[in-house]
């Protein structure tokens, strides 16, 4: 028996999302009032109760979300900005106490991640040992929220309203990471990876050692860009190109190849909209005009790091 399961924290997420939906429905000035209210309510149900619903019901709920977004029925109102001078005045009141709630989150997450699985009351454990990190992070957020409300003296309703403001900025990008995981899963079931690896291996003259290295590292980037996840690309490219062309043909060192191959995949993660939680979500969270601004800033990083990886692999793998 476990007290704080991950599902419990996800029910908490569902409650937050349901509150956002209610606040949107309440707001007569909201430009896309009903579409947005339905969007946040459907998402609240899918996130909070997803585990107890049949997968097909969740699937159709997600489809409903997508249709609402695609037909532009979901939006955010123009939020009135508090003047910066007023905020500076307010900041003077609380001073550094404003920082503590934010810092509590990682502190609880790290300390809890290291120690929470030891906490037991008889045969009732506090967290599930396989979910320690996520449960500790959830707990950190609860502690942080309590601290934030205590410090500022605000009611929970304000937290829901301010959180709702930020969530509405994120809108569809919030569910994109989970949907990309779904796309990756379906592609794996359909065997897309094997087909691509086969294409790379037959299209290029991989009998030359340098070509084999470039094909493997380039394939890792290409496949990560397409799937948005280097972890998904790694087994496919390594089985399809890395092991046959570098290790078996040329006697390469698998440790060097695997490590630098994965690091090459990360360069793909830096430049793909498919890695939404790293690239698209922050662009919206930081209120950037261009959804691709983070990718553009990261492209030179990706290029420089990829070339270095190829160089090190070619120099050391054989």
């Amino acid at each position: 028996m476990t007290l704080l399961t991950l599902d419990l924290f996800l029910v908490g997420c569902g409650v937050v999302l349901a509150a956002v939906s209610a606040l949107v429905a309440w707001d007569v000035t909201h430009p896309q009032r009903w579409g947005s209210a339905v969007f946040w309510l459907l998402l609240a149900v899918a996130v909070g109760l997803g585990k107890w619903l049949p997968p097909m019901a969740v699937g159709y709920a997600v489809l409903g979300l997508t249709i609402l977004v695609a037909t532009k029925r979901v939006g955010a109102p123009q939020f009135a900005r508090v003047d910066s001078a007023v905020l500076t005045k307010r900041a003077e009141v609380l001073g550094n106490r404003l920082l503590w709630p934010v810092l509590w989150v990682p502190v609880v997450a790290i300390v809890g991640g290291a120690g929470l699985d030891w906490v037991k009351f008889g045969d009732v454990s506090l967290v599930n040992p396989t979910q320690v990190a996520q449960s500790a992070l959830g707990l950190g957020c609860v502690v942080g929220l309590a601290a934030a409300l205590r410090t500022t003296g605000e009611r929970p309703l304000v937290a829901a309203r301010e959180g709702g403001r930020l969530l509405q900025l994120l809108s569809w990008s919030l569910i994109l990471p989970a949907m990309l995981a779904a796309l990756g899963g379906i592609m794996a079931k359909a065997g897309v990876g094997g087909v691509i690896a086969g294409l790379v291996a037959t299209a290029l003259p991989v009998q030359f050692p340098l070509v084999a290295v470039v094909a493997y590292c380039g394939g890792m980037v290409l496949f990560t860009v397409l799937l948005g996840n280097a972890f998904a690309a790694f087994p496919v490219m390594t089985l399809g190109v890395g092991l046959p062309c570098i290790v078996q043909t040329h006697g390469g060192d698998p440790a060097v190849m695997g490590t630098l191959g994965m690091l090459s995949g990360y360069c793909g993660t830096l430049v793909t909209p498919m890695a939404a939680n790293f690239n698209i979500v922050p662009a919206r969270l930081l209120e950037l005009k261009d959804d691709y601004a983070v990718i553009k800033a990261q492209a030179p990083f990706a290029g420089a790091i990829w070339l270095f990886n190829v160089g090190v692999m070619y120099g050391c793998v054989y």
Binding site: G138, L167, L286, V294
Partner: protein, 228 residues
């Protein structure tokens, strides 16, 4: 080749700048149907994968109420004020320092932050505050550029020094993969070969953030000339 149909849908969708959520869902359904599953089976698969991965949203949904409440009371302004006291700070130096810190902690398999918990409430306001002190002006363009680089500092710091001291993620996955494939590798070798790139990334960061500072200076100088 019909297996790749969904992938083409994704590529074409992104090229046409269609809504990414629509592109991804359409790509998933196309891939599933092309592989011979019925429409309802594909929808159920989407539902199952969504449920299995919905915890990805947890750090954001539970974090934004905290950030929102504190921002109402001037969190960003406070952070910017604090950084003004550090006279050596520039936007680039703030971001390079954060990337280093993020990298060093992730070597131990620890995560001190993400975009919702660190970058929006603390790191981006710090960098913006430092830039404002340096140049005396700020424009929406330079603000967006600083913020985009703050997100980059988080990602780059997070990705490239994973697991070097304490392995919790990527290197374990590589080891498990090779074990399953019957290829012998030692975890210590994987850690060793992660090191050169982790050091190189520190240099790349130094170069990129220096360029950012230079661009901000130039933009500020140009703005001053226009408005004497």
């Amino acid at each position: 080749m019909i297996t790749l149909l969904g992938l083409f849908v994704v590529i074409i969708g992104f090229t046409l700048r269609a809504n990414p959520l629509l592109v991804v869902v359409a790509g998933g359904i196309t891939t599933g149907v092309a592989a011979g599953f019925s429409f309802n089976e594909v929808v159920a698969m989407i539902g199952q994968f969504f449920t299995d991965n919905r915890a990805l949203m947890l750090p954001i949904i539970l974090m934004v109420p905290i950030v929102g409440v504190l921002e109402r009371h001037g969190l960003q302004e406070r952070v910017a004020m604090l950084i003004r006291r550090a006279t050596a700070a520039t936007a680039g130096r703030v971001l390079w320092t954060y990337q280093l810190l993020r990298g060093v902690t992730s070597m131990f398999g620890l995560s001190i932050g993400n975009h919702a918990a660190m970058v929006r409430p603390l790191i981006a306001p710090m960098a913006e505050g430092a830039a404002l002190v340096r140049s005396g002006t700020s424009s929406p363009q330079s603000r967006d550029e600083i913020r985009a680089h703050a997100a980059a500092a988080e990602n780059v710091g997070n990705f490239f020094s994973d697991d070097i001291v304490v392995a919790v993620g990527a290197l374990l996955l590589i080891k498990a993969f090779f074990d399953n494939a019957g290829v012998a590798v030692a975890l210590s070798d994987l850690k060793l070969w992660s090191l050169p790139t982790a050091l190189w990334v520190v240099l790349v960061g130094w170069w990129r953030y220096r360029r950012l500072d230079a661009r901000l200076q130039k933009a500020a100088a140009a703005a001053k000339e226009r408005a004497p």
